[in-house]
């Protein structure tokens, strides 16, 4: 799952190095605008419904966190 997410995000955001940080949201690399897009991508690509309560920085701060969120919801 982690690799699939990395591939998906890198294809859409080639300028962002998703591997390098575990504070993607906290450090401002991922703006709320990008998070909104990632939610849409996950819904479309993995068929998951992300509840509003899960839209917290901890779930988007790293590839591992995003992978575990998607796995949890699948």
């Amino acid at each position: 799952m982690r690799d699939k997410i990395k591939e998906l995000l890198t294809a859409n955001y080639p300028d962002i190095d998703f591997e390098s940080s575990t504070e993607l949201v906290d450090s401002g690399v991922l703006s709320s605008f990008i998070v909104v897009n990632i939610i849409s991508l996950f819904t479309v690509e993995f068929g998951v419904t992300i509840p509003y309560e899960e839209i917290i920085p901890e779930n988007f701060n790293s590839l591992d966190a995003m992978a575990s969120l998607v796995e949890k919801l699948q």
């Binding site: 955001y13 300028d15 479309v44 839209i55």
Partner: protein, 520 residues
């Protein structure tokens, strides 16, 4: 009474004296409540106090009932797996929604009702008009709605004592222009009110003084020029308009952030922390970054309560999918379709929050489109810069991005300052007429701001720029001042007080003009 009046200074002195004299948290809370009522009575009128009471009670009752509905939930989720928990929570949300929605309708309805009268120009019945758009409604309506939504999403537990909600809604350091507080945090601050502490008190007063400087020495002085040009843009051209637009941007920044400095400073002095609303916005290098630095609490509110809920809404995602298919499914279409609805909804609402005319709607759409273009084409721009051999980390390039963002802001501001879209068109068109001689023949000094005042404001803006630059470098200005010898510290403070007293722009009875954002 406004923040920038002599009466307010006397009120503030009495408030501080009383606040620090009374013992215990409860009595201090009572002093804050009395201060809120006293300030509001003289600043917003008694009718507005009834609106505050009404909004506070709606927020309290709705959040308490939602809390009651959620009571068995915590026991029922024990032992359930993640999916079962989410399903149970969804079923509970269905029930609490029956309380939440009427609560929101009552509060936001009040706001919309007042704004509708402004939009249509219909004169409200005399009995009703004092209750429409009372002072601060645009700010506390959002905070109250946010609090109910926090309870609905179980981000916070509902407060059991209604007095705390009345304290939050009526809190005078935030009532004029915000910041838009999160009540769950503000309540915690009120519950921890303590006695006098020299450092926060001093830091708070320094910030209040800095706010007065921004408002009285810069903003109100600049308005002498901008108000003349904005009033009749058809009578001016070229550099006269360009200068008005640039000065108008600085005026709005110093007016709004000055008011926020006064509010946050007062709050800091009594040990109540409020969220920051500005972070040197004119150092922003993109539209998105600008709005993360300007009116931060409003941006956070829209992000948390509008944009994110829309982003996870299945119907919105369905429509986004259709847009994506329509556009072909490439990288750009994925980014465009994913954020189009949440973003444009936020910006249309932001526009309507600021004002009800078509000009504000267009202003909102303008920023929405800028955001979209910036986001969707960011990698393309980056590739273009690389190809052209431009170093994106160089000072020159960063300066270009800052200047570009400032120009975006100025153009956006032109939509609303001209009073109508026709006014904007006139202003925009006439801005390109060439008249460089006005910069040298002295005619600029005949539009409300004479040569002496031009130089005064120039000096003040340079001082503001230096302070903002130091803040941008993460320097704690007030901390640096505190580390200086006492004589130097007091000299600086006396100089600032002297500057505000001598160079401030005062109207009749030492009453300064109203804050721009107070009107929202």
């Amino acid at each position: 009474m406004t923040y920038v009046s002599l009466n307010f200074i006397f009120f503030l002195a009495a408030f501080f004296l009383l606040f620090f004299m009374v013992p215990g948290t409860r009595l201090k809370q009572a002093v804050v409540l009395a201060g809120n009522i006293f300030f509001y009575y003289f600043a917003g009128g008694i009718q507005g106090l009834f609106v505050i009471l009404f909004i506070s009670l709606v927020t309290y009752v709705a959040s308490r009932i939602m809390g009651r509905i959620y009571e068995p939930y915590d026991k029922e989720i024990e032992g359930l797996d993640y999916k079962a928990k989410m399903a149970l929570f969804a079923s509970y949300k269905k029930k609490t929604k029956l309380i939440l929605i009427p609560g929101i309708i009552l509060i936001i309805g009040f706001l919309v009702f007042g704004k509708a009268f402004r939009l249509t120009g219909i004169e409200a019945p005399a009995m009703l008009s004092p209750f429409l758009m009372p002072l601060g409604l645009s700010y506390y309506a959002l905070s109250s709605t946010g609090y109910m939504l926090d309870v609905f999403w179980k981000k916070t537990k509902p407060e059991t004592n209604p007095i705390y909600l009345i304290l939050c809604v009526s809190y005078f350091p935030a009532i004029v222009e915000g910041p838009i507080n999160k009540y769950s945090k503000l309540i915690t601050e009120f519950k921890g009110l303590k006695g006098f502490s020299y450092e926060p008190f001093c830091r708070g007063l320094q910030r209040v003084l800095w706010g007065f400087f921004k408002k009285l020495v810069i903003a109100d002085r600049l308005s002498l020029y901008t108000s003349v040009v904005y009033k009749d843009p058809g009578a001016y051209a070229g550099f006269e308009i360009i200068i008005a637009v640039i000065l108008g941007a600085i005026q709005l920044y110093t007016d709004f952030s000055g008011c926020i400095d006064i509010g946050i400073g007062i709050s800091e002095a009594i040990g109540v922390k409020m969220p920051e609303n500005f972070n040197q916005p004119f150092f922003a290098k993109s539209a998105a970054e600008f709005w993360r630095r300007w009116h931060i609490s409003l941006g956070d509110w829209f992000k948390e309560y509008i944009s994110m809920p829309l982003a996870v809404n299945q119907k919105v995602i369905g429509v986004s999918m259709k847009i994506r298919k329509l556009l072909g499914g490439g990288r750009r279409s994925v980014q465009f379709s994913g954020s189009f609805i949440p973003l444009m909804s936020v910006w249309i609402l932001t526009g309507l929050w600021h004002g009800t005319g078509l000009d504000y709607l267009v202003w909102g759409l303008y920023w929405g489109v800028l955001f979209l273009l910036e986001s969707v084409f960011a990698p393309d721009f980056s590739a273009l810069y690389k190809k052209a051999g431009i170093d994106e980390k160089s000072f020159g390039f960063k300066f270009y991005l800052m200047a570009r963002t400032f120009i975006f802001f100025c153009i956006g501001r032109m939509f609303t300052v001209a009073g109508s879209l026709t006014g904007f068109a006139i202003m925009f068109k006439r801005m390109f007429l060439l008249n460089p001689w006005v910069l040298f023949d002295g005619s600029l000094y005949t539009h409300g701001l004479d040569r002496k005042n031009f130089y005064t404001v120039l000096f003040a803006v340079i001082l503001l720029f230096i302070i903002d630059l130091k803040k941008e470098e993460k320097k704690d200005i007030r901390g640096l001042l505190a580390a200086q010898p006492r004589v130097f510290r007091w000299l600086c403070l006396y100089m600032l007080i002297f500057t505000v007293a001598v160079f401030g722009i005062y109207g009749p009875g030492f009453q300064a003009s109203d804050f721009v954002y107070r009107g929202f």
